[in-house]
Amino acid sequence: MNNTHGIWKIHFSTICKNRLLFFAFLMFSLCRYTYANSPIPIQQALTGTVLDADSAPLPGASVVIKGTAIGTTTDFDGNFTINLNSETDILLVSYIGFVTKEVTVGNQTSIQVILEESSEALDEVVVTALGITRAKEELSYAAQTLKASGVNQARTGDISKQLTGLVPGLRISSNGGSGVSSSKIVLRGEASLDIGSNEPLIIVDGIPISNNFNGLPGGNSRANLPIDYGSGLTDINPDDIQDITVLKGPKAAALYGSRATNGALVIRTTSGRRKQGLGISYTSGISMDKVTRFWDVQNKYSGGQYNPGTGEYEYRAYGGYGLPLDGSNFVQPQVEEWYTGAGTATQTEARPLVSRNKSKDFFDTGITTNNYLSYSFAGDDKIFGRVAISNQNTNGIVPNTGYDKKGISLRLEAELSDKLTIDFSGNYVNSSSDNVPVQGIGDDSREALAYALMWAPNNISINDYKDNYWVFNDAGERKQRSNPAWITNPIIITEENLNTFDRKRFLGNLKTSYNFNDDLYAFVRVGMDTYNDNRTSRRAIGQYYFPTGMYREQKINYLETNVDFLVNYSKTFNSIGLNTNVGANMLRQTSGDFQARVDELAILDVYNFGNALDRPKITTSNVEKRVNSIYGSMQLDYNKYIFLDVTARNDWSSSLSPENNSYFYPSAGLSYIISKSVELPESINHLQLRASWAQTGNDTDAQVINQAFDYGTLPGSTTNQNYVVDPNLKPESTTALEAGLNLRMFNNRLDFEVNTYKNSTKDQILRVPISNSSGANSRLFNAGLIENSGIEVLLKTTLVSNENFKWDFSVNWSKNQGKIVELTEGVDSFIIAQGPALPGVIIQAVPGGKMGDIYGRDYKRENGEIIWSEVGGIATASYADDLVKVGNYNPDWTSGIVTSLGFKGINLRVVGEYRHGGELYTETGSRLFQTGKDSETLARETTPTVVPQGVMSNGSGGFVQNTLSLPYFNYARRIRHWENAALNTFDASFFKLREVSLSTDLKKYFTKLPFTKLTVSIFGRNLYTHTKSKELRHFDPESFMIDNGNLVPGIESGQLPTPSTYGINVSIGL
């Protein structure tokens, strides 16, 4: 072994030789224990089963003889066997999350114990790695489980959006728009400088699924439009979910492999074991999306511009620096014609100059309907099944956009014999859309909706844009009509420039388990996640930015298969409990991407490659990656109050060179339940301390280390790839330390949890920019050390609890800081992401800085004051050469509040979230000053000429208070110029009322009908947003930019508004 690089490497050849020996030894040790154990004298053997209220078995429940240390835990099927001393023995049956039950055995030899769920502590059972359910108190690391029934009370169709604000350390930000939109999920900060790879792993029924954003690969072509097609998690139907466990940090996910370095979201789907009544359940809902927060624009002036010659504001068909909308008659061209060669005005009649356009007018009310029908069945207590079909349909807030999702899911469990069980879970989803809106402004995306709307003048209504948006010139060419002529008519954007996708996805796994005996079981599991996504984008002939049209198709296919083997052995020896397992995993991932594009179409409105005048530009890529792993874990407990947990894993990844493709990562953790071992004041129900240490390794993308030639621009040409690879590229390494405390008091009515952690990720595999004069633009190599440290607090209380009224209140708080400790020698900075107008604003890592630092340009300053100088008779400011730090997109801390009030079966739930600190650069805000639509530009009335704050040269090398002035128009454009990152970056602190929902079960009013459930819930989401900075009042402070396949936080660039959602859900169980 070699520990020089922090990750212990097992050399390939050594392990190949010694592996069998090693495992033979390990298994031999296990077997020895199995049979060397001498039995306790039998007086009376009792067998039993522990079930929940839905008759689902509870594996791992504790069964202890009251007043003794004698006890056992239930097996996988909830069964247990215990040897009693006498008939008067009382059993204490407990399971975390359930009310402990005392059972008098009497002379029974077999009993069934049904536990009721405890309402005080709903989250106390967690699903750990490999799908094993464990009591939370046994864990040496932080984890939190959320039941779907709770989070689905305000169902949106996208589970990730329903988790915001609920879990400390879990930050979920959603993109604007409605229907399909991606979420960015960050757990405990960003560990990697490659911000696209900072997401936690998503596990569904034990199988990892892809949550790829799947944008378009790099390039600055106008055809690479920022479109959000949704991420993988949007394909999971929230109604299929039973619960979600958030495993934080590398320790929690050491056994899922390197992709879980950032933690994991472990989703379990509903099992047929939960069957109630006839087993039929139907849920139907409808919700409405309304734009409530959008640009705060002035509505007092027409389109126009300032004329420095006359000193007057003049009418123009764009923006808002125009004439008063006072009803006076004026010749206003309705829509301009572009490039027809003759004049621009199409209307010469004077009409009253009045307000005819409020920016919000453009948006529709979005409607989402969803229907979900499931049937659970059980046969002879041997077969449990559940089948569900679902349909969700969304009409977006952007006209002519929408989203449709149809799914079918099947879960089938069969106990073929006492020992053999099979469990199948399959889920087929078809997501599609006839049109997904383009987001953002981008470098040259002037066909973007936001850009069109911010230039559309107040005196021209959206309906004017709708009429005859095409004209034909004398040469018979079709041209667009728009105002101004050089934006794309927004109606053309929504009605003609369609972006479609059709994604068919299957997720499934088949698990075969075999119980050798009560102590030893094994399973083999085969899982897959596969999808095909077909996308098209069309741009009509005759618009300003695509004068000859454009058509593009993209076909993505993805397949991941996982084969798992696991052997688990558990046994209690007097006061020592042992649970150990050894497993292996083979992961195979293939993905293909095919893109073809033409830029010159011949016949109008026909979108086919056959209708192209140019040769299609085609790119294809097919990559495959395999990772083989072996792992083992061992948990030891002493009297159920001290738990030691050790894991080890070795991966072999095909993406690294044979010399470096093997990496080993261990973890260890300790949990100590003080309240079980030491006499504490009665008010303390539970006190636990825990600590853990973990390492993970990570590989890189497939096929990047073996360099080949790229195809050149001309047919049949080749060129060098634009990056080079360090031949000694080694795996990344993350080391995590974590400590936590959990305290429950006053009959569990107060539950307090605090965790603190420090994660260091080093040897990151990065594409670091190099001097272009080398002939390449980047080099792939190991660089960088990032330290994330933070603290998370969760406090839950039950303020009132009586027969009629219950009031739960919980608050969570977390703080994370990502520090860039070092990059690498010779690299002073690393550009993580680029915003618009390079080098206007960038996300950059600098040693000593923090993760998420925003850098950009600023004017030349003296002692912090802008230096003004006179050019052409007016004051102006010029840009300094170097970029300065203007902010950081990560909040200083975040806090969520969840409160629920239950009164006679009616439950009210309110979720709020506050994020403190962090900054956001806004291009929209800047553009609204440029166009003169921001309501603040009304300042032109009171200060037609501005003497800006700042200094100017005193003529002899020094500076004096500025006395130079400039017209308001120039001032507004100067002081909020979009290239000036410093003046357009603001404190992004915000509060959001995420959810208010009211639900009730009406079952009791229909006692004659066979309802097992009849719940109705009405809800609202994103009802209110408050931002600390008034400059961010225009839009969602969570906005992030879509940049060729990445979601970039900290930069807002014409994102669509996030609507408020109001809805109702009805759920019936028969």
Partner: protein
């Protein structure tokens, strides 16, 4: 029971045994989409073609503005000499030229002794070096193009770079003269394997660069080397007609299409007032010439409203943004005809044209260098070559017009030089709007008006571009050394070859 378990456990362990064996991993990790090796022909195509569009774009949006052919009717800053505000086109050229240099190095290593490829690499790389050095003065040369070995190349000083360029061009001519193995595997999209044209390109480029470094005290043997080439056409064949000039013939079929042909690139770009002055008003102010307009003007220019009968007006380079917009909106404002969009194959990319070489010879003759023909003969051949290039018929007696003729009005030597550069400027339009900037730096000709806005920033035509912003971070040590060596990373730092 026990035995059974052991068997099963053993079976399981065997399965695990397979996990770590990773024999096919290396194969999986090889791309099946991209070639691991390339024939020289495929690489040569990229070496030739890939820098062409970045260079054209640079000329269209940058040097074309600096040299006042073109102006932006909406926001632009290059004609106002406010270079720092947008470095996109120059940075893109920097990256593309060095990428081509790297491809050229790779081509050299796989050329297998084929002199065609080896000489082509020398000539094209020399040309790229010259472009880069003209834009930035000191630039990485010798150490550039080897990213696996060196990710932060040292900058060479301009004198050494031009020495290297001249030597490489000389060697390339010799290699091709003495070789019988040329472009055996094809791929010569520039001259279709015609070795003589490559030699003519090398020698003609050498004349261009010898003249560029000919100021006193710079490259001392420039005159003698120049004269030696002219004196021995058998050893040093040079371009003698439009048929053998060094241009890349753009087919106009995508992706072989120029940025001039895509109307979105041209959005907002139009002809300048300087352009009108040159062709219509006649800048040769000493004459009272009233002859008809230069027909090449009508070939390129039109009005906003073609039916308008007023005199042409154009945006004055370096003026205020507001004035530019006002002028652009006038019905008689000059516009670039969409000739390049309508005929996408119309434009060629000029490394060195026949016309340009004739003007080079004319200038050399005016310097008093020993050349067989008269200045007027070279000059007239240059103007004629440009008419022929566009296929425009030259009016009778055009060359004797007072505003054209080199010797008209008994022009002085300096006035003759001015006229050479005026016609060189005209002949460079669209084909080569780059080298005329180097001439302007060196000779301060042709005359340009520095606009009011430009005036307030720099009362002179800039001589270079800021280094790419990335160099300051990823190649800081070498950047700093180069910056101090040239006298500061400013846009008015003089080129070494300037006096």
């Amino acid at each position: 029971m026990k035995k059974n378990i052991k068997k099963q456990v053993l079976g399981f362990l065997l399965l695990i045994g397979l996990i770590g064996c990773t024999k096919d991993f290396e194969e999986i990790n090889q791309s099946t989409d991209l070639p691991a090796e390339t024939p020289p022909s495929a690489l040569l195509k990229s070496v030739i073609f890939d820098p062409i569009n970045p260079s054209l774009n640079l000329q269209l949006k940058f040097t074309g503005q600096v040299m006042q052919y073109l102006v932006f009717s909406n926001a632009s800053s290059f004609d106002r000499y406010q270079f720092s505000s947008d470095t996109g086109v120059t940075d893109a050229y920097w990256a593309a030229a060095y990428k081509a240099i790297r491809d050229a190095r790779t081509l050299e290593s796989i050329a297998d002794g084929d002199s065609g490829y080896l000489a082509a690499v020398k000539i094209l790389t020399a040309y790229n070096y010259a472009m880069l050095s003209d834009l930035w003065i000191d630039v990485p040369a010798v150490e550039s193009g080897y990213p696996s070995e060196n990710t932060s190349p040292k900058y060479d000083n301009q004198q050494e770079i031009f020495t290297l360029i001249l030597n490489n061009l000389k060697e390339a001519n010799e290699m091709l003269a003495n070789s019988d193995q040329n472009f055996e595997k094809g791929g010569d999209i520039l001259f279709k394997g015609d070795v003589m044209r490559w030699r003519k390109m090398a020698n003609s480029l050498r004349l261009k660069y010898l003249l560029r470094v000919s100021e006193p005290g710079k490259y001392v043997s420039s005159q003698s080397e120049f004269e030696a080439i002219i004196a021995d056409p058998a050893t040093y064949p040079i371009i003698t007609s439009n048929e053998d000039q060094a241009v890349y013939d753009i087919s106009g079929i995508a992706p072989d299409v120029s940025d001039f042909a895509t109307s979105t690139t041209l959005t907002g770009i139009t002809l300048s007032q300087r352009f009108i002055d040159q062709f219509v008003n006649g800048t040769n102010t000493s004459s009272a010439d009233t002859d008809d307009d230069d027909p090449r003007f009508a070939f390129f220019a039109t009005k906003s409203d073609p039916a308008n009968t007023d005199a042409y007006v154009g945006i004055v380079s370096g003026g205020t943004e507001a004035t530019a917009k006002t002028v652009a909106d006038l019905p008689n404002s000059v516009k670039l005809k969409p000739i390049f969009q309508q005929d996408k194959g119309l434009l060629d990319y000029g490394y060195i044209t026949h016309a340009e070489l004739q003007f080079i010879l004319a200038e050399a003759k005016l310097k008093g260098w020993a050349l067989p023909l008269t200045t007027k003969e070279y000059f007239d051949a240059g103007v004629t070559a440009n008419f022929d290039f566009w296929g425009i018929e030259m009016p009778v007696n055009f060359l004797e017009r007072m505003d054209v003729s080199i010797t008209g009005n008994g022009a002085s030597n300096d006035e003759q030089l001015e006229r050479v550069f005026q016609q060189k400027w005209v002949a460079g339009f669209a084909i080569n709007m780059f080298d005329i900037w180097a001439d302007k730096k060196r000779t301060d000709k042709p005359a340009l008006n520095i606009g009011v806005e430009a005036n307030t920033i720099h009362n002179t035509v800039p001589t270079r571009m800021f280094y790419p912003i990335l160099e300051k971070t990823v190649n800081a040590t070498n950047y700093n050394a180069a910056s101090s060596n040239i006298g500061g990373d400013n846009i008015t730092t003089p080129q070494w070859y300037q006096n």
